[in-house]
């Protein structure tokens, strides 16, 4: 059985000349955990992964594998496996030779190697492709070969750099499920880089959201989905995205006035308890996920006017004009009988409302 490894990054900085790709990142990955690094393009995900792989050396900070400092260790001393976005299958080797390569360089004897290759190939359902060259495989098959090659020597840590982004939508979903299955079964510590928030939410036990080389939020997918730590994370996570509306807050005599562009709502103060005293002169962002906006039967909190109705199969996405802002509503009801421009009352689930300071982007509820 492979030894299970925990990973720790302490204040890691990586500079390329003038560019700071990773700016003081720290996090810990527990043994056997599936950890996702999520963020927009250029935020430093790949660089972080390459630092863990040993393909880059940190400018500052330390990396620990099971409390052992590997900051300056060569990749091969780390006993890891990595799947690249382009798979990096050697075009001049057959599938069998590709899968067997990590064993070959470890000088595993031929018989043992052949056995392991077939075993692994069977596990990934590619044993009928062993004699082909990578160029003769479909994208999905190539991806499985890359996975098989990474797993064949039972590494301590598994690294993925956007391994699904070259697949079409259908195959991506299938591979995602397969990956989750394999990882849960083997229990190998896994770090998974992606810019697709749905992928991260679906796969990860815990995840970090990165922006400009810094961690914006660290937590379980649920924590991050429900309680985005700042307006960037709130905007980045979720599909359809969270409603984020600029507003002003005005407390008057036990009530709270929320001034949206073109419309005003007044609610009892205790419905929206903020952890910071509000300043009526400051701008805030009012955030609520589309599923927490509810179409009311008669009397709602506010009225909206139907702007568009999109049927998404299992649910319906309704966009309303509330004052001058667009608000997305997500509902499982299918035949609502709504018409465009129709006025509808809506209720807000105030428990799930998040308020951010406009200037700092910080969460105050």
């Amino acid at each position: 059985m492979t030894q299970i490894t925990g990973i720790k990054l302490n204040s890691i900085v990586k500079r390329f000349g003038d560019v700071t790709a990773v700016n003081n990142i720290s996090f810990e990955i527990k043994p056997g955990e599936f950890f996702a690094l999520l963020g927009p393009s250029g935020c430093g995900k790949t660089t972080t992964l390459r630092l863990i792989a040993g393909l880059e050396t940190a400018t500052k900070g330390t990396i620990l594998f099971n409390d052992q400092d590997v900051t300056r260790a060569e990749p091969k001393e780390r006993d890891i496996a990595m799947v690249f976005q382009d798979y990096a299958l050697y075009p001049h080797m057959t599938v069998a030779e590709n899968i067997g390569y990590p064993l070959k360089v470890r000088k595993v004897n031929e018989k043992e190697k052949a056995k392991k290759v077939i075993e692994t190939a069977k596990q990934f359902k590619i044993d009928h492709l062993l004699d082909r060259k990578p160029g003769q495989l479909s994208g999905g098959q190539q991806q499985r070969v890359a996975l098989a090659r990474a797993l064949v020597h039972q590494p301590k840590v598994f690294l993925f750099d956007e391994p699904l982004s070259n697949l079409d939508a259908r195959l991506r979903l299938e591979s995602r499920t397969f990956l989750k299955h394999i990882q849960s079964k083997l229990g190998i510590t896994t770090i998974y880089v992606t810019h697709d928030q749905a992928e991260a939410l679906a796969l990860a036990d815990r995840m970090a959201v990165l922006k400009d080389g810094q961690i914006r939020q660290l937590g379980t997918p649920q924590e991050i989905y429900e309680q985005p730590a700042d307006s960037f994370v709130a905007d980045f996570i979720g599909d359809p995205p969270m409603n984020l509306i600029d507003c002003r807050l005005n407390p008057i005599k036990g009530n709270l006035e929320i001034l949206f562009p073109g419309i005003k709502v007044t609610i009892p103060e205790e419905k929206l308890v903020l952890n910071k005293k509000v300043d009526p002169k400051k701008d805030y962002i009012f955030g609520i996920r589309p599923e927490h906006v509810i179409l009311a039967d008669r009397k709602g909190d506010i009225e909206g006017k139907v702007y568009a109705i999109e049927t998404l199969g299992s649910m319906t996405l309704i966009t309303l004009m509330v004052g001058d802002s667009r608000v997305r509503v997500n509902t499982h009801e299918m035949n609502l009988g709504l018409k465009i421009e129709q006025e509808v009352p809506i209720k807000l689930n105030y428990d799930m409302v998040r308020i951010y300071e406009k200037e700092s982007g910080l969460l105050i509820k």
Binding site: A53, L55, K76, D79, I80, A81, A88, Y90, Y101, V105
Partner: protein, 275 residues
């Protein structure tokens, strides 16, 4: 009226194609027919009784065989040297951030196009004379290599640039040593580029006249290119039987190589320096 114009265009077009085909083909026909004639002359005659006697004469002649050997030594020598040195340099240039890399590449390419033909041959001649490499295979090989290396490095660097670094990185992560990575990954992936550069060098050296003509003196070191030029009998009249057969034999490798590379890589790689 429109039809008439169309017909005239077709006619003109076909006449032009025939004329141009004749222009390119006629001088070459001599090379194809003459070696098989019993009594080759400068006239173009179709070999009604084809014979291989002229080729037999070539193979019976020590001097001609020796010249072929010299061509092989010089061509393979330069090819080998260029492939090795260019691959090493191209890999380093492609993968490692070196200070002044851009400038060095620029100067190399600049000089390789500026210093061509006879223009810098006077110092080259004296250089070889001074170091005792005049009239040696090594001297000729080194001069050719120096001339073709910039282009070779340039072509190969482009080639290595096109190979994703993730191949090497994935091998590194898989636990391979540097030597293993060079042997298992980099060499096989770069080989097609090396073949192209090698073929290019080989053909250029094989066909070149000027450099051996200037840098070699003794007839036993002359490659075929210069040897053919000297095929005259005692009274200075060209021996057409030998020349025709020898020319064909000398041309065949170049044509074969062209067909091979053109099929495999297309025209892109073939252009470049011409001696």
């Amino acid at each position: 009226m429109k039809d008439f114009k169309k017909v005239m265009f077709r006619l003109g077009y076909n006449v032009l194609v025939v004329f141009l085909s004749a222009f390119f083909a006629l001088p070459i026909l001599w090379l194809i027919f003459t070696p098989f004639n019993e009594k080759p002359t400068l006239a173009l005659e179709f070999p009604l009784n084809p014979t291989l006697a002229n080729f037999a004469k070539v193979f019976a002649n020590d001097y001609t065989i020796n010249a072929f050997q010299n061509s092989l030594i010089q061509s393979f020598g330069a090819t080998f040297l260029v492939i090795i040195l260019a691959s090493l340099a191209a890999y380093a240039f492609s993968r490692v951030r070196l200070p002044g890399k851009g400038i060095i590449m620029y100067i190399l390419v600049l000089f390789s196009s500026v210093v061509t033909g006879i223009a810098a041959m006077v110092p080259v001649f004296f250089l070889l004379l001074k170091v005792g490499l005049i009239d040696t295979h090594i001297g000729v090989i080194l001069v050719f290599s120096g001339g073709f290396l910039p282009t070779a490095v340039f072509l190969l660097k482009d080639f290595v640039d096109s190979i994703s670094t993730t191949y090497e990185e994935s091998a590194l992560v898989a636990g391979a040593s540097r030597l293993q990575i060079f042997k298992d990954i980099i060499f096989p992936l770069t080989r097609p580029g090396m073949v192209v550069v090698g073929v290019f060098t080989f053909v250029q050296v094989w066909s070149n006249f000027l450099i051996p003509f200037l840098l070699l003196r003794s007839s036993e070191k002359m490659p075929a290119a210069v040897a053919i030029y000297a095929f005259t009998n005692d009274v200075g009249i060209p021996k057409i039987d030998l020349i025709s057969a020898y020319s064909l034999l000398y041309t065949i490798p170049v044509v074969a190589i062209y067909i091979f590379t053109n099929k495999k890589y297309g025209f892109r790689f073939y252009g470049g320096l011409k001696g």
